[in-house]
Symmetry: C2
DNA sequence: GAAACCGAGTACCTCAAGGTAACCGAAAGA
DNA sequence: TCTTTCGGTTACCTTGAGGTACTCGGTTTC
């Protein structure tokens, strides 16, 4: 019934999944979930991202239909980014993952240190 | 209240999230969600993964406390992998993401082609 | 005696994501 | 006149994830 299967390496859903799980997409979606934001706001809120990579990430998300870009020809320029309807359906699953990372980071850190201790 | 924040680049949850979203972890979790599996079964079901990289992925997941490895000293050797309790809490969020990719792959593909067409 | 089986380990290589630094244009403020 | 602002672009470089190919250890099967 479902034509797409991520376990099949040739399936397009595989590359879609890789896109969703790249370095910055989950964080950008998380910030935009609160509402539209300017380029500079995104750069400031997503800690550690450079302007170049943020641009690349946003372009890729725009191409995938997750985000709309609205550029105002004012000076200095102002550019707003907003999630599309499709992008908004991603908020819940990505938020769940972000939440998991934050909730269970402590346990993972513990597991790592006992593993490292055991394999000295 | 929550000490971890993925938007902070220095926060450990950031690296935890990156681990969860690496190339093979979501797929391995998806397969192991159905129950324990042998190394060879995993290699066969997760299309496109090589033995070396599967080993690396499983070691990393074991270190993070997501998976247990049970090696039987039979000949030829038999090694079973199983999700831990912590790993099982990952099934739902990662499955949601996999499901999203499979459900919306078509829309993403469409968005890409109209974007590419518009920017000729 | 040779080959297959299973779950690896190791050396080597490739390639693309991501980072750094410099620059841009037009307007407004000092 | 000089700098700052904003949202980029470009050239260049680094790095590490991941891929290829080869090896191994015993035991069973042919």
């Amino acid at each position: 019934m479902q034509p797409f299967d991520v376990l099949n390496p040739a399936c397009p859903s595989r590359t879609v999944l890789r896109h969703l799980t790249d370095r910055w997409t989950p964080l950008v979606v998380g910030v935009l979930a609160a509402g539209p934001a300017r380029f500079g706001e995104l750069r400031d809120q997503v800690g550690g991202v450079t302007a170049k990579v943020l641009t690349q990430t946003l372009r890729s998300m725009e191409r995938d239909g997750l985000v709309v870009r609205r550029a105002l020809a004012t000076m200095p320029p102002r550019v707003d980014y907003e999630l599309t309807a499709l992008g908004r359906t991603l908020v819940e699953p990505l938020d769940a993952l972000r939440g998991w990372a934050e909730q269970h980071a402590g346990e993972v850190l513990e597991a790592r240190s006992s593993y490292d201790e055991a394999t000295l």
